[in-house]
């Protein structure tokens, strides 16, 4: 029998209160204006939500991954853009620095990230390197005490808004994935520019930018891990990152389900609330069941992460199931709202747009199936 601890329940209540009071009121407007939730970031950082899983000595709070999953879930239940901002920052930038960084790198970069004083981002994807990281064309060339980095990254969550960027670059193309290295870059380094801001279908308040490196000189001490370890670092980072995206998808699904439930009880057609029609009852039952299954997978993978056990298969399963659940539940929630659900009068319209990306980023559903089947066939 799985039960959340008292701390987890208090965590959920706190983040739910915070999300409803601080994120809810402006969610629609930020979506409309594609406005990054900077003020909300500052407030959530004060509460320790920018560094949940990192030790206190590096500015974090030292809580477990289930607390982290609950936080991303509850934020995303109200505003998925806020959820992904936290997830990309924590899982994709702070976490690889924590896991692979030197003591000096942790003190210099992890600490301000974990306190939320600075925001983090992760630059892996390129125009020719989406699901296939071996297509990385950004290059790093060692020149004495520095690396010279050139290239372009696309679809970078928290781009422009972030201060610290963990970026992959190819050092030796002949070695394929084993030629990749990872670097910590700072906003403002000479030659480090931001390209276009993506106009997206959903999570429109989340910032998504192109990163451009034009002979950026990165000091050797900013290399994360060894030369050639970049691909491995990226894959481990994504294994953990999927917990966050799975939690985000779970939160979106939960939010849409609650909206559908409420609407079905209130909306009267043919003389009765539409919740009294069996087709909607069964739909709500299926939504609730799928969400609960997703939740267990998400918390299971979070538990494994805190227990320092292998998360790769579990987080891929959690992300696959939670994201497909989010897409299905939000679609059904819009359907249950009828014409109103298709308008911006009701939040399910935004939730359905927000849900789609969870099946795409940090590994598409197809990639999750590859990861899962690799584990299954290896066993």
């Amino acid at each position: 029998m799985f039960e959340l601890s008292e701390d987890h329940l208090m965590m959920r209540k706190m983040v739910r209160d915070f999300a409803e009071k601080e994120c809810g009121p402006g969610a629609e407007e930020r979506d409309e204006k594609e406005e990054f939730p900077r003020e909300i970031w500052n407030k959530l950082a004060e509460l320790g939500l920018a560094g949940i899983t990192f030790p206190e000595e590096y500015g974090g709070v030292g809580a477990d991954y289930i607390s982290y999953a609950i936080a991303v879930e509850e934020l995303s239940r109200v505003d998925a853009s806020v959820g992904v901002t936290v997830s990309a920052h924590s899982s994709l930038c702070a976490n690889p620095i924590y896991k692979f960084g030197t003591e000096a790198q942790k003190l210099k970069y992890l600490t301000p990230l974990a306190t939320g004083e600075k925001i983090g981002a992760f630059g892996l994807t390129e125009p020719m390197a989406g699901s296939d990281a071996s297509g990385t064309r950004t290059t790093a060339v060692r020149d004495g005490d520095v690396y010279v980095i050139n290239g372009t990254k696309v679809f970078i969550t928290n781009g422009y808004e972030a201060d610290i960027y963990v970026v992959t670059a190819q050092m030796d193309k002949s070695k394929g994935n084993k030629g990749i290295a990872t670097f910590i870059l700072e906003k403002g380094m000479q030659g480090f520019y931001f390209g276009k801001k993506e106009k997206k279908m959903g999570i429109r308040a989340s910032a998504t930018y192109e990163l451009v490196f034009d002979n950026v000189l990165v000091p050797v001490e900013n290399r994360l891990g060894e030369e050639g370890e970049g691909f491995k670092i990226a894959m481990v980072t994504l294994d953990y990152g999927r917990i966050g995206i799975a939690a985000q998808a779970l939160g979106i699904a939960q939010g849409a389900y609650e909206q559908a439930l409420k609407y079905a009880k209130e909306r009267v057609q043919f003389g009765k609330a539409i919740a009294q029609f069996q087709i909607n009852q069964f739909k709500l039952a299926d939504m609730a069941t799928q969400i609960e299954a997703a939740r267990l997978l998400v918390y299971q993978s979070a538990y494994l992460a805190s227990a320092h056990k292998s998360v790769s298969k579990a987080s891929a399963m959690a992300k696959l199931h939670a994201s497909e659940t989010a897409m299905w539940v939000t679609t059904q929630a819009v359907q249950m709202h009828g014409g109103y659900g298709y308008t911006r009068e009701y939040p399910v319209e935004r939730m359905m747009r927000d849900a789609k990306i969870t099946e795409i980023y940090e590994g598409t559903s197809e990639v999750q199936r590859i990861v899962i089947s690799n584990h299954i066939l290896k066993d």
Partner: protein, 254 residues
Amino acid sequence: MNIVVCIKQTFDTEAKIVLNSAGQIDPNGVNLIINPYDEYAIEEGIRLKEKFGGEVTVVTMGSSRAPEALRTALAMGADKAILVSDPALAGADEWLAAEALAKAVAGLSYDIILAGRIAIDDGSSQVALRLAERLGIPSVSSVLKLEINGSIATAVHDIDGGSETLEVSLPAVFTAQKGLNEPRYPSVAGIMKAKKKELKTLSLSDLGLNAEAKMKIGKFTLPAPRQAGKKIPGDAAAVAHELARLLREEAKVL
């Protein structure tokens, strides 16, 4: 400066009140919260501690679910918690509640006692003031601003048509009105530290109190369900005429 904050766990403001077969309010499945006015009291207590040092002790009288409310107050930043809990307190009236709290508080060192101005469940607004009387110290109700200077407190509260500023010597009881402050969320670190903080449970025998409520609740009745609205058909003049008639004759508001 040592501060005691008296809080009460109440039903969530959105909870649906249902009576059970015995005619009692059914707490099953109801989400419980800290009485919202008590949150202002907790926040004020923590702010005073942050400014002047000392300790904040939260005290409540309640059931087996009450520790949840105390832990939340500890997560917000209170230092210690006391739960007064005893089967004999199940039907406690305001008098007995104040007696029990007075016994619990008397054992503490305090300069300021804070509480919400009203509990949103029974709405009696009595316990904190009775507590002040029982302890023989002054009290100021519905405070919107509180300043401390040495052993003197200056409190502001609204009165009909304006506001009133009072000076009172400490120790004293203050009840918090909405607007006193903006209560903080517990931080993640606060939540993690809360369970390591002291939470003491005291029974009536621990308090050396042997008393019974002086008042018993006879019965609860739910308000009559809201009637459906009325649509008045016709052209504007006829509708206005009919509306005026209904407002005068049926609703009797004109």
